[in-house]
């Protein structure tokens, strides 16, 4: 007779698993009080995460061992028909390559998130997900009631691509282990992220770390002086203020 042949034995066996397991967790950011941290997860290759993040959240994506690839989609939590628009994200700032100060724009002329720090410099907004990564994003989105048609174009962090003068694309690989990117969330979003190979760089993905914490003070800082960015912030603040006005706050 096995130990799991009875309900009590099966229960004891199941409960013993968590007691002996070790859960891999990301390193926490220096200088951030633990009480401010709202989400931490280490995502293995072929894994994904889905989480609603409030306005004023700072989220750090990190590549601890040097071959993560974070395929990212942002969907506005309160209005999921509004989502990351990758074309506007490169066209409006006149810049194809993601980096410090770059806005992740929605299809409604608002900034869903801003890249606040970047120690990698190897990112891509042109190639989108692999079939595997897209399937992971569809499943992650489904857990928030989203359908495959809601999974629009994505950006990828930690695997670089460059455009030659004739339009040809070259993969530029990953930065060294330990690279990270911080995003500041400007409106409540559903963050969907899949950790999987890049279409032009088929190396298997290694761990991806995601840590989020409350950083409302970052909303008060001008992170980019471009007029296009500042108008996006104006649009965003107007939408937030309009939706948040209540009788009690008069």
């Amino acid at each position: 007779m096995t130990s799991t042949s009875s309900t009590t034995g099966a229960r004891a066996h199941a409960r013993s698993q968590a007691a002996t397991a070790a859960v891999a967790e990301p390193d926490l950011p220096d200088g951030v009080e633990s009480t401010r941290i709202t989400f931490t997860q280490r995502i293995p290759g072929a894994g994904s995460a889905n989480v609603v993040l409030g306005r004023g959240t700072r989220v750090r994506l990190a590549d601890p061992t040097g071959a993560a690839c974070a395929h990212l989609l942002l969907v506005r939590a309160e209005a999921p028909w509004e989502r990351l628009n990758v074309a506007d994200t490169v066209k409006v700032p006149w810049q194809a390559y993601l980096g410090d100060g770059h806005p992740l724009l929605s299809d409604q002329g608002r900034v869903l998130a801003t890249v606040l720090a970047d120690t990698s410099g190897r990112h891509d907004a042109l190639c989108g997900p692999t079939a595997e990564a897209r399937q992971l994003l569809c499943l992650a989105g489904a857990k928030h009631g989203l359908q495959p048609r809601d999974i629009g174009p994505t950006v990828s962090f930690f695997r670089g691509v460059r455009v030659e003068s004739d339009g040809a694309l070259t993969a530029t690989g990953s930065a060294a282990a330990g690279a990270s990117v911080d995003l500041l969330v400007h409106l409540p979003v559903i963050l969907l992220v899949a950790n999987a190979a890049h279409p032009l760089d088929d190396r298997a993905a290694t761990d991806l770390d995601v840590v989020a914490w409350a950083a409302p003070e970052d909303l008060a800082v001008a992170h980019n002086t471009d007029p296009e960015y500042q108008r996006a912030v104006v649009n965003t603040e107007r939408a937030w203020s309009a939706a948040r006005t209540t009788e009690a706050s008069r």
Binding site: K91, L126, G128, R149, L169
Partner: protein, 203 residues
């Protein structure tokens, strides 16, 4: 020599939407009648509208951001919707997306909020087929010139087209084609003066 039969021949006025299903094997010619007119375009499998054009899958598969003769226009799942079989221009955009009332406020200022824009045309065309906002994704801009410089700077610059130049697409499956004959007047994609185009389907 095979002769082709015209099954559709329509003029799309300046600033207007247009849509049609192009049957597998048929060819669609998009003719830039007056030159320098951007034609924003989205494609869907007519049999399954969730199987739709993916600019990113297309760019990744051909390892190049420009569309021209030989480019296969793919969906997220790898379905070949259409193939560019002839091209008088040599360089069409698929990374810069469509103008919208909202993105115009970022690019040109809040005074442009109520101008005509492509996303509104796309929505009008999409609603006709039971599609909506969630079905709109990054599109193709026929005749629009968007270079990316070495430092990543990109932008819409003067076009390479001219009066009468055309691009020819062969449908690989029955394909729903949505077009916004771009109304943009604030950048050089239309030479600051939107003009009509001609759509010809032959079999």
């Amino acid at each position: 020599m095979t002769s082709r039969t015209t099954v559709l021949d329509e003029i799309v006025p300046a600033r207007s939407p247009w849509s049609a299903v192009v049957a597998a094997g048929d060819q669609l010619e998009i003719i830039d009648l007056h030159g320098n007119q951007a034609v924003d375009c989205l494609l869907y499998s007519a049999a399954d509208h969730t199987d739709r054009y993916s600019a990113q899958a297309t760019v990744a598969a051909q390892r190049n951001i420009f569309l021209t003769t030989g480019s296969v226009l793919l969906t997220d799942t790898g379905t070949a919707l259409m193939t560019v079989v002839a091209d008088d221009v040599g360089n069409h955009d698929t990374i810069a997306g469509a103008c919208s009332q909202e993105s115009n406020t970022l690019r040109y200022g809040h005074h442009t909020r109520h101008q005509h824009a492509c996303v509104e045309n796309f929505l009008a065309a999409a609603l006709h087929w039971g599609l909506g906002k969630r079905d709109l994704v990054s599109n193709i801009n026929w005749f629009m010139n968007v270079p990316v410089e070495a430092d990543g700077t990109l932008g819409i610059v003067d076009g390479l087209s001219a009066p009468g130049k055309k691009v020819t697409l062969r449908a690989e499956v029955d394909t729903l084609v949505l077009v916004s004959n771009c109304p943009q007047i604030n950048n050089p994609c239309n030479g600051f003066d939107p003009t009509p185009i001609r759509m010809v389907v032959s079999r």
